[in-house]
């Protein structure tokens, strides 16, 4: 596979078009640890949907089926001193950082051992330097504030914030991008553009492009079309290293696919759109490309997740010492 230098587009530099990738190139062989994390997230999300369908979960959830590779690829480039701000679709982010399906499932199920004692649930989680919250765009200014702190108190560390294509409808995004660039804050904005905001296709909720919006602030932008963990890391490692040493924001847009519903069984997309997303799903593509490694790892993770579900389900209800 050809190595690609980071393709960075500043606001005033001329954009060159990167080699087109369809998200359908052969996926590289991964170390066992990476594949296990990918599959842990996949089977976690499938387990969550299954529990919902059985009426065993209370409330709501948003799975990241099809988007698992993003945090798995990205977090290898982070250290634990970096802050991560996740969003409503955050199970994959949490699991990629902590590999703790028990704590997360307990949180979603309100069982003992829950990361946040069952108070936060699926989309409000805080652990160490990882925080998720449920209002679109709200975490960008907060992450900018954290980046302001890091720049001064812990140079070299960055704040990472995950948003979707739909999040760009919120004004908070632009207030934060403006301040981040003005104040040269080490803020990595990870856009998971899955081409659909709940039920609204991107082209019906966004005028222009994310790239042009970043350029309007003079903020560096990088477009990731690959679904290949190795390739994504290769593309991003220099750019992320650079914002550590020369603090400034960076917008990375992933062209990705939401394989599952927005929430639970609420997918109103035309069948061919869902099929298109499924055809690009890393899960099947990796399985076809590396069948032997995949079959064993997939089976192991499926069984492990069944055991997680069984064990967590049997736990007593979580308790919250409300102050």
């Amino acid at each position: 596979m050809a190595s690609a230098a980071p393709h960075l587009i500043g606001g005033t530099t001329t954009a060159t078009v990167p080699p087109a990738r369809t998200g359908a190139e052969p996926l590289s062989l991964l170390p066992a640890e990476d594949l296990d994390t990918l599959l842990m997230i996949r089977h976690f999300e499938l387990a969550v949907l299954e529990l919902f369908s059985q009426g065993l979960l209370h409330g709501t959830t948003h799975t990241c089926l099809g988007q698992e590779y993003i945090p798995v690829a990205l977090y290898a480039l982070l250290d634990e001193g970096d802050y991560i701000f996740s969003n409503h679709r955050g199970h994959g982010h949490y699991l990629a950082r902590f590999r703790d399906p028990h704590g997360l499932l307990a949180e979603i199920m309100g069982r003992e051992g829950a990361v946040c004692h069952g108070v936060g649930g699926s989309q409000h989680i805080y652990r160490d330097r990882y925080l998720s919250t449920g209002v679109q765009g709200e975490s960008l200014p907060v992450a900018a504030g954290v980046a302001l702190h890091l720049r001064r108190a812990e140079p070299g560390r960055i704040a990472v914030v995950h948003i979707g294509d739909g999040t760009w409808g919120e004004g908070a995004v632009y207030e934060a991008l403006n301040m981040a660039q003005l104040w040269r804050l080490p803020l990595l904005v990870v856009v998971e553009n899955n081409k659909i905001a709940q039920s609204t296709p991107t082209e019906r909720q966004m005028a222009g492009t994310i790239q042009a919006r970043a350029a309007a602030f003079g903020i560096r932008y990088h477009h990731v079309t690959s679904h290949d963990v190795v390739q994504v890391r290769r593309e991003l490692s220099d750019a992320i290293a650079d914002i550590r040493t020369r603090p400034q924001p960076l917008v990375v847009e992933f062209s990705t696919h939401r394989v599952g519903p927005h929430s639970k069984g609420d997918d109103s997309r035309p069948a061919e759109v869902v099929r298109h997303a499924a055809a690009r799903d890393w899960y099947h593509r990796y399985g076809e490309r590396h069948p032997e490694q995949f079959a064993v790892a997939d089976r192991n993770q499926r069984l492990a997740m069944a055991e997680v579900v069984r064990e967590v389900q049997a736990r007593p209800a979580s308790r919250w010492e409300h102050s």
Partner: protein
């Protein structure tokens, strides 16, 4: 004898002291940098002295309150200035759904020490979107405390008290107070004295010299102080009606229990405020007072607020909508019968 320190000077000194003493303190806001020093000059001199931690921001109220929340989350003590408290509406999401929620929604207590300063209130002719007293819209949000500036409470103490709560606080600052003098040494004027009580709201008690149990207890936030004292003065001199005034530094959370001994000395109680009527702080207080004192009171708590109206710009119209000393006195006279 030197002139008393002006309230704006006291506030400015408090911000200087905070930045001098606390290396984790920040001040963030629009147009706060020198030489301009903020729309009301509360931040004058701060950026020259602490350029790294005094940040003049774009016009982004929601954004800067979010930035403050991020600073608080990482252990800092940010103070954000809303140029006018009306603009805190633009930061409502950050205050309601992030900063205050974060204190408890992650299942454990997360320290979020931050202050949002809100130049508040009318009587200055700024019109409908620059004159409101919006305290009532922020009442009842778990882990969001509301405080109000007064000429009795040293602002350095108030800032310390707010930041030590380790949760988001709003400080409402009635704009007409800025140019007034701070009261010192327990003296308001020739007729009235004051003391600071030890209750959790750090209430200032203003009382006539040589007076036993008063006819009225008036509870009011700091911005009403001058109007309330003017009404109390006229009532005392012209009608021999005696009033005491209680001015809590912290408006919410507020519990009247620690003040029951003080308030139960009068059989008539009034709560005066400048919010538009209905759904107000005063109604919350009245409900608490009724719970405890229903049988002792000569009449229900008298609630006085601004009219339920936009705040007009023209002086005569604005004057009629907001609660003035004359209306306060008239209402107390009528309710004394």
């Amino acid at each position: 004898m030197t002139r008393p320190e002006r309230v704006i000077g006291n506030l400015n000194r408090a911000l200087h002291k905070l930045l001098d003493d606390d290396p984790r303190a920040y001040v963030v806001g629009e147009d706060i940098a020198d030489p301009y020093g903020g729309a009301f000059k509360a931040t004058r001199g701060l950026s020259d002295r602490h350029p790294e931690r005094v940040i003049s921001s774009p016009i982004s109220e929601g954004g800067i309150v979010g930035v403050a929340a991020g600073l608080a989350l990482t252990g800092n003590h940010p103070v954000v200035e809303m140029m006018f408290s009306d603009f805190a509406a633009l930061a409502f999401d950050q205050l309601l759904n992030f900063a205050s929620k974060s204190v408890s929604m992650y299942g454990r207590t997360v320290a979020m020490g931050m202050v949002v300063r809100c130049p508040t209130g009318g009587n200055r002719g700024y019109g409908p979107t620059h004159s409101q007293s919006l305290q009532k819209h922020f009442i009842g949000i778990p882990a969001l405390s509301l405080h109000e500036m007064s000429p009795f409470h040293d602002n350095a103490d108030v800032l310390t008290a707010m930041l030590s709560r380790e949760q988001p606080c709003m400080l409402f600052e009635d704009k007409t107070l800025y140019t007034r003098g701070m009261h010192q040494g327990g003296v308001v004027d020739d007729l009235f004295r004051y003391e600071l009580l030890d209750d959790p709201s750090r209430t200032a008690r203003v009382f006539p010299v040589d007076c036993g149990d008063p006819d009225w207890i008036i509870l009011a936030p700091g911005g009403l102080t001058e109007r309330a004292v003017a009404a109390m003065r006229t009532l005392l001199l012209e009608e021999e009606v005696t009033c005491e005034l209680l001015v809590p530094s912290r408006l919410y959370p507020f519990t009247v229990e620690p003040l029951l001994e003080t308030v139960s000395r009068a059989r008539r109680i009034c709560v005066a405020e400048d919010s538009a009527a209905d759904g107000t702080w005063g109604e919350m207080l009245a409900q608490q007072l009724h719970q405890h004192l229903w049988r002792r009171l000569a009449r229900p708590v008298l609630l006085l607020s601004a009219q339920p109206s936009v705040i007009p710009t023209a002086a005569h119209l604005e004057h009629a909508v907001l609660l003035q000393a004359t209306a306060l006195r008239r209402a107390l006279t009528e309710a004394s019968q």
